[in-house]
Amino acid sequence: MKKKRIGVFICHCGTNIAGTVDVKKVAEALSKHDGVVHSEDYVYMCSDPGQKRIVEAIKENDLDKVVVSCCSPNLHESTFRNAVKEADKNAFQCEIANIREQCSWVHPNMEEGTDKAIKITKTVVEKVKHNEELEPISVPVTRRALVIGGGISGIQAALDIANSGHEVILVEKSPSIGGHMIQLSETFPTLDCSQCILTPKMVEVSKHEKIKLLTYSEVQEVSGYVGNFKAKILKKPTYVDPDLCTLCDECTKVCPVVVESEFELGLTGRRAIYIPFPQAIPATYILDDTGCPGLLPIACGKCADVCDPGAIDFDQKPEIVEEEIGVIVVATGYDLYDKTNMGEYGYGKIPDVMDGLQFERLCSASGPTNGKIIRPSDLKEPKELVFIQCAGSRDPELHCAYCSKICCMYTSKHAMLYKHHVHDGQAYVFYIDIRSGGKGYEEFVQRTVENDGVLYLRGKVSKVFQDGDKVKVWGVDTLAGKDIEIDADLVVLAMAMRPSEGTEKLAKILKMSLDKDGFFSEAHPKLKPVESVSAGMFIAGAAQAPKDIPEAVAQASGAAAKAIGILSQERLYHSPMVAKVNKHLCTGCRMCVDVCAYDAISIKDGIAEVNEVLCEGCGTCSATCLRAAISVKNSTPYQVHEMINASLGG
């Protein structure tokens, strides 16, 4: 076999590397390393002339492998691999030695930095020496998208993808799309009516020929890989045929069962057969089988008796819908922090303590009080209203450590709306500090304070308790240095935002990772905010972190653009650094099959076989195999042993 001819290129990165690493010395040391036939240094390898030097050096010296010692491979690996391709060599014959982030920037001593840079470069030379020539694996693309979650983010993502001409399956677990946004009264900072701006989009979804809407449905199983996923979706029975239902409302008049309304957040009740809200999409009544006795038709069945079009069908069964898709957008949104956690604020015990979403319903013209602000206990108009911000947020000891981001703004909006409804009332806001970054946001808060006379008190509330017909609020004003006691009529808590219920389960189904707070993790906090670490799966809206409507919409459009980027390809390319089985060593013991997180390995004719499309190349199989019969291409145990040797100066 021909001896390898390796070229090494040391970048100065201006003084970023050359300031603390003697690049000439590194180039010289490497020129003597086994297999290296060319070694040079240059001020900016990533510059156009720098890349040309690589191309020319490959041609002049007949190099077949290249190591560039420069910044992190996350930055310029593809730059240099493309340069190598330009010189008609295989891209995988180029490797990057990180001598900047992991060396020059952290070791100010020139001697130490130089010594380490030499070792790092030699380590990578040993790796590239044994690299195979690889070509990306190509797979066809199923040009359809699955969007999970029908709130504003999911709606926006679905519409954007559908408008690009690709089919979308939009799955929503509740009976109607609209999410939390449809529950809101007005939106900050414009005071647009939330329903008025959302319902046109909901209607567009329902009428869009490219969107298949599955409400009251949940994703149960997802298999496959980017470009070719298969999803099993459970469609729960609604017992009402939406095509026959005329929304005449005769059924609710006879239904004997009353339960708390989810849409009105318990502020009022609904029947077992109901429509979540008048503008619900799909526009149909549904029957909630948890409360309905009619599933045993002898017991009830009154609704079916009065239903003229015969839309009610007690025999409907859960149905599994199977869909093939190429990409997935997760837009599962948020829920408010569980009220049972906030004992100190009396939430759940005192009737006149409510959360921000309940207050939205109270303000809403379509709400249970038709927009009249009255308190639950005695239906009187509250004259003293206390808002408590950061209820459950920014409290690492007891609750959530993070800031829920939107509460400063919506509390300001609530206080303003309250004053618009109750002119002679007084609103107080307890806050830690006001975070009003956003277009027109700070001005909005100022308006609440200056025009509406809302009293902002910087400090936390220590206790909230019932005192006669008042809700006593004990707090502190840290600016005035005074204890504060307010006899409030109503207390509204700006509860923390949590990932929506079922997020953890869905993450397991999708094999997506969650962050420490349980939100979906983005692939990179700055540069990949809508991608997840799983290829072909994107995140939109509050499923990723608390965010307001404009941000959720922007991220949804971003996620849609990324999804369209995949759907518009004929074929996709997958990293070829995947596991490979040595058939002579494999005994078919199945240990690799058991540890593979991607179900990429199966046993065929008594030995392991890797599905290269499913394999992500993590190498867990390789570390598990007792006979070293399976290893990841270009990251083989032999290569690692050689790298270890070089790293120790061997």
Binding site: E101, D115, S513, D515, P525, G619, S647
Partner: protein, 140 residues
């Protein structure tokens, strides 16, 4: 013996979390001792016990394996396998008489540049009093 002993450390850093965390330490210009030579692996789950033994055999005074936090593995569960395997290996190393301090596992996320530097500083400090590792060194 005027010069202080400088331990040689091999660090297996997973690409997605710990190597990225170490990049962040660089971007943030956090100084730490230069004793560590990083070897990037795709996942801590790919680090075979043989790699660790091989590093000691080739003269490492300390070996570090660093991956994503449990539950945060880029490859879903690779770090869990790594954790189990390494717990067993630690017992083995102990059994054959290698100081347990010579081998370390840490969880460093892509956002934890500070933690990475702390891990390295701490490890170097722990290794210095132990002197050179000869137990498993070839011809040692």
């Amino acid at each position: 013996m005027t010069e202080e002993f400088e331990p040689k450390i091999v660090a297996f850093l997973c690409k997605w979390c710990s190597s990225a965390g170490s990049d962040l330490a660089g971007v943030s210009r956090m100084e730490y001792p230069s004793n560590v030579i990083p070897i990037q692996v795709l996942c801590s789950g790919s680090v075979s016990p043989l790699y660790i033994l091989s590093a000691f055999n080739k003269g490492a005074d300390g070996v570090l394996v660093s991956g994503c936090h449990p539950g945060d593995c880029h490859y879903i569960k690779g770090n869990y396998y790594s954790r189990r395997r390494i717990a067993l290996l630690k017992e083995l190393l102990n059994f054959i008489g290698l100081e347990p301090e010579r081998f370390k596992m840490s969880w460093v996320s892509a956002a934890e540049g500070t933690k990475y530097t702390e891990v390295i500083k701490e490890f170097v400090d722990e290794l210095k009093p132990l002197g050179a590792q000869t137990k498993l060194r070839r011809n040692g």
